[in-house]
Amino acid sequence: MTVERESFWCLVHAEWTKLRTVPGWVLAVLVTIVAIPAFAFLAADVSGGCTQSSGGHATACPAPLTGPGGEPVSDAFYFAHQAVTGNGTITAQVTSLTGQVPAVPAGEVADGPGGQPWFKAGIIVKENTSQGSAYAAMMVTGAHGVRMQWDYVNDTPGLAGNVSAAAPRWLRLVRDGDTISGYDSADGTHWTLVGTAALPRLTSIVQAGLFAAAPSGGDSTTDTGVFRHVGLSWPATGWTGINVGGTGPNGVPLPGSLRQNAGTITVTGSGDISPAVGNTGSVDSLQRALTGTFFGLIPLIVVAAMFITAEYRRGLIRVSLTAAPRRGRLLAAKAVAIGAAGFAAGLVAATLALALGTPALRQSGIPLWPASLPTEARMVVGTGALLAVAAVLALAIGTIVRRSAPAIAAVIVVIFVPYLLALGPLQGANGEAPLWPLQITPAAALSVQQAIPEFSQVIAVYRPNAGFYPLAPWAGLAVECAWAAGALALAYYLLRRRDA
C-alpha cells in the first residue's frame, strides 16, 4: 500500500477516477466534444455567400480559379508572349516601372497607396495563356525590389532597390526541363541566381514573354514596364499581346497594351498574379470549421476549475492531502488528469469538426483554401493542446482563488475578451484594432488553428475574423503554456503555504 501511495501514476489514476465518476463533469466534457463540431456548420454559410450578395439579387457563384496546387488564385495580367519549344533562356533589361492610378473621387478615402508596392512587371515563362496555369516569373516591383515568383504562392527576393533609368535591372529565366531558374543582374554581365522553380506541369511548348500586373481594388489602375535588350535563345516569332483574364469583376475589359518601338518594348497591364487571400469573400479558411472551440472551452473550463474548487468546498481537499501529503504531486496529478481529458476531448472534437465542416464550407460558394495534411494534423493536435492547457490554467487559477465562480470567470475572460478586443472595439492609429491582445494573452493559442499562410507579397486584410493570427501557430500555443505554467507555479506556492 505504501509503495502504491508513493507512485505518482497511482495518484493520477485516483484523480482520473474522481473526474470520471462525477456525472455532471463527464456530461460537460461531452458537451465540449459535441459543441465544437456542431458549430462547424454555424460558421459555414450553407445558404451560399455569393448568391446572397448584391442587394438580394441572386448572383451565380463564380467558379473559383485555382492554381497548380488547387489553391484559389488571381491570374489577370497583360502578357506579350510567344510560343517556345524545349529548353532555353529569356533575358530582358527593365528600365522603368510606373503606375497609373485613377484619381480618388473627392470625399472618398484613398485605400492607402493602392497596392503600388506590389506593382509588378518582368519576364515570365507560363504553361499556357489560360488563367491558373503554372508559371515562373522574374519581375521588378513598386517597392520590394526584384522578385522571383512562381505558381502563385512562392516569392523570393532578388536585388533590392527600385528600378530606374539610372539603375536598370536585368532579369533572366532559364528553362531546363521541368526546372526554371531565375537570375538578376544590375549590369547584364554579373548574374545572381535568385531562385529555382520546379514546374512539373510544363509541356514541351510553353509561352515565354513580358508581363505587367497592377494589383489594386479597382479595374482601371495599371502599371507600365519599359523593357530593352529583350533576348530569346529560342527562335523569335514575334510578340502577341493578350489580356490573361480578359475582363475584370464587372465585365469591363481590363486595360492593357503592348507597344514596340526601336528596341524598346512597353507593356501596360492591370490585375495580379497571386494567391487569392485576405479580401472579404475571396477565399474561406478551414479554420472556420473550428469556430466552435470557443463554445467547447466553456464547459471544459467550468469542470477544470471545479476539479479543485469542489474539493475545497466539500472539505475533500483535506482527505486528498492526507492521502497524498506532498501537495505539489497532488496538483501535478490533477493537472495531468484534467489536461489529458481536455486533450482527448479537443482531439476528438477537432477531428469531427474538420470532417464535418470541410464539406459544409465547400458548399458555401466561397472557395476554400486547401489545407495540407500536416496543416490539418497541426490544427487537430493544436486544438487538443489548446483545450488541455486551458483546462490546466483553469485548475491552477481554481487552486489559487479556491472559489469556482471567480476562477471560471477569470479564465474565460483572459481567453475570450482579448479575441473580442482584437475583433473591433480597440482602435489603433491606423483605424484597425491592434493585435497585441492576441500576442500576449492565452488567446494567442488560437493561432494554432490558422489554416491559410499569410502571403507577404499580397496586400490584404489579415485579420483574426478571416482566420489570420499575429503569431506563428506553435508560438501562440507557447504563450498559453507560459500562462498556465506561471499560474501552476503560483498555485503550487500557495498550496504549500496555506492551510487546506
Binding site: F39, A43, D45, Q52, R288, P299, L423, L426, Q427
Partner: protein
Amino acid sequence: MSVDAGQAALHAEWTKFRTVAGPAWLLAGVIALTVPVGAAADSAAQCSSAACGIDPAKVSFTGVYLGQAVVAVAGVLAIGNEYSTGMVTLSLTAMPRRLTWLFAKAAVLTGPVLIAAVLAVAGSALAGRLILPGHGFTPAHRYASLTAAADYRAALGAALYLTLIALLSLGAAAAVRDSAAAIGLVLGVLYLFPLAAAVISNVPISRHLQQIGPLPAGLDAQATTGLQNMPLTPWQGLGVVALWAAGALLVGALLLKFQRCVTSGRG
C-alpha cells in the same frame, strides 16, 4: 406578500449582503477593472481625420467588456453562495416564501451594483474626456465636446447595462443553483454571441445574432456615432438586455417556486 414580510426580507438580505466582504470587493473590482482598461483604450486610440469614424464613447467604455464579468460573478454569487454553503435551507426556513426571498435578493443586489456601475462608467467617461481630446478627438475632427446629450445617454446605457447583467446572473444562478455552472452559462451567453456574429459569413444571420445577444445589444446602448448603421437603436439595445435579465429572473423564479427540494443543488 405583506408589506412587513417584504420589508423583513429586504432587511435580512441587506444585512447578509453588507456583512460579508465578498460583494464589496467584487464591486470595487468592477471599478478597478473597468476604468483602467477604458483609460488604456483611450490612450491607444488615435483619430487622424474627420473621417476616422471612431466612436469615442465605445472607446471609453471598452472596460465594460471586462467589468461585466466581475458584475456577473457578483450576481451569481449573490445566490450561488447560499447554495454552496447550504445556507439556503436556513434562509428558506426563515423565509418560506421563496419568491419574496429571490426578489429581496434582486433588490438588494441592484442598488450597490448600480452605484458601482455608475462610478465605473463615470470614471471611464472622465478618463475619456481627459485623454481623448489629446488623441485627435477634437472639434476639428467633428467631436464636439464629449459632453453632448448622446454622450450622457451612452454613459447611462453602460451603467444600466452592467446592472442588468447582475440581474441576469442572479436569475441564472437561481435557475441552475450552482455557481460554477451559472457563471459558465452567463459568460457564454455574454461572449459567444459577438464571437459567433464576427465569424459567421452569412450577413443576415450575423446581424440577427448581434440583435439578440445581450453583449452586442448592450454595446449599441453605449454608442454615440454611426447609430443608423447599428442593428438596434440604443434604447432597443438596452431593451434586449432588459428582456434577457427579466427572462433569466422569470426562469429562476419559476424553478425556485416549483422545485421541491431546495438543497438538491449541486452547489
